[in-house]
């Protein structure tokens, strides 16, 4: 492949990863790492370094737009970041002590269960309002956004906050332990446990993934995994894609986003279970 074709293909892939990440609340690593290593033959360490750049670029590009339209909820994001960042610190400290494969297997089974329950509520547009959760009332975990697809304001308040906080701490711990991004787990905890509208879940996840990834970005940089010739076109492509993704997401229905999210959840469940069983994946 010629250098120009390589950079053009890399840029196009990054635009798609950024767009998908902005809509689904993911960093894009789940797409980017396999494509970079399998199709472009990039070294795995450089692919992971480019992926962390991609997560932060998606977060900055998407969250800037979502905050202006009140789709990202800063209070919910910061409150849950307490759990994810502290979980990531504990996970990093436990790396090498706790058997990662057992955790991967348990998490894979939990994700498989969540995939089935998400499948059951695939057509649900907005969650049923839950009871008044004392933590949600105390910390103001609520908000209103204008839903362009429904053409009306949507009010929401978080339910089962303690459960969501615990799931976030678990996701953060796993991310620190295994060095994986955890955007999908964040969306799942907000959509599934805290019963927030899907759009608020993915947009708030976009705000949060930048914060949690910043905690590990320094490590990748210091290790020399962020190669400027690879990370630069990825960063620019992802930012362009994320900006386009935010425009698309505003027009989509919550149920459509959940349908697009389901295969990601299923794939994560399968890959976690297989890795937990010691079956390697690319």
């Amino acid at each position: 492949m010629s250098p120009l074709a390589f950079v053009a293909a890399l840029f196009a892939t990054s635009v798609v990863a950024g767009g998908a990440g902005a809509v689904l609340g993911l960093g894009g690593g789940i797409l980017l790492i396999p494509i970079l290593t399998l199709f472009f033959g990039v070294d795995l360490h450089y692919a992971m370094g480019a992926s962390i750049v991609s997560v932060i670029a998606t977060s900055s590009g998407a969250a800037a737009a979502y905050l202006r339209t009140s789709l990202s909820n800063v209070r919910i994001g910061l409150f849950l970041a307490l759990a994810t960042v502290s979980g990531a610190l504990v996970g990093a400290a436990l790396a090498g002590v706790v058997p990662a494969r057992v955790l991967q297997l348990l998490l894979g089974l939990a994700l498989a269960y969540s995939t089935v329950t998400t499948l059951r509520q695939l057509r649900v547009e907005l969650p049923e309002p839950g009871g008044a959760d004392p933590l949600a009332l105390r910390f103001g975990l609520e908000g209103t956004y204008f839903d362009a697809a429904l053409d009306r304001d949507v009010k929401y308040r978080a339910s089962r906050v303690a459960l969501g906080f615990g799931a976030m701490a678990g996701a953060g711990m796993l991310s620190g332990l295994l060095g994986i991004g955890s955007g999908a787990f964040k969306v799942l905890a907000m959509d599934h446990f805290m019963r927030l509208p899907m759009k608020v879940s993915t947009a708030t996840s976009n705000f949060m993934i930048g914060i949690t990834s910043a905690a590990s970005a320094g490590i990748y940089f210091a290790r020399g995994d962020i190669h400027p010739l690879l990370a630069a076109p990825v960063a620019v492509g992802v930012l362009v894609g994320a900006a386009a993704g935010t425009r698309l997401m505003a027009r989509l229905r919550n149920s459509t986003i959940r349908k697009a999210f389901l295969p990601v959840l299923g794939w994560l469940a399968v890959s976690m279970i297989l890795r937990g069983l010691g079956i390697g994946l690319p």
């Binding site: 962390i52 990202s72 800063v74 970041a81 914060i211 630069a232 076109p233």
Partner: protein, 132 residues
């Protein structure tokens, strides 16, 4: 229609500016590097294939490396790109710091404290990473 609060507007503006500044630096460094005709630019497919080949290009591993390369005359164009990447990586941290200040100014002590704790944990993680 729901309007964003002053805190949301401030963080949104900061993330946008951080993103734009990063893209500007990344692109200008990359374009100058390509125009200067470095052989590694033509060998990019091989350079990113493995770590040994990757070392043919300056891969910066500390802010000191970046600063020294920027101080050269003329500055190393890839150091400008690396500076853009560092700006990008620092943007979410600055967003949390700005949130802490903005909540404090808005009189929301709970969230000023929550944002400060998150910021403290991020800085702790950087210190742990730097310590090895």
């Amino acid at each position: 229609m729901s309007a964003p609060t002053s805190v949301e507007r401030l963080i949104a503006r900061l993330l946008l500016l951080g993103g734009l500044l990063s893209v500007g630096l990344v692109l200008s460094g990359l374009i100058v590097y390509a125009v200067q005709g470095h052989p590694e630019a033509r060998e990019i497919v091989r350079v990113v294939h493995n770590r040994e080949a990757g070392r043919a290009v300056d891969v910066f591993t500390s802010l000191g490396d970046v600063r020294r390369a920027l101080a050269q005359r003329p500055p190393d164009p890839l150091a400008v790109t690396a500076l853009g990447l560092v700006c990008l990586l620092a943007t979410p941290v600055l967003g949390v710091a700005a949130a802490s200040l903005a909540f404090w100014r808005a009189g929301d002590r709970d969230y000023a404290a929550i944002a400060s704790i998150v910021l403290g944990m991020l800085l702790l993680s950087f210190a742990l990473a730097a310590g090895g």
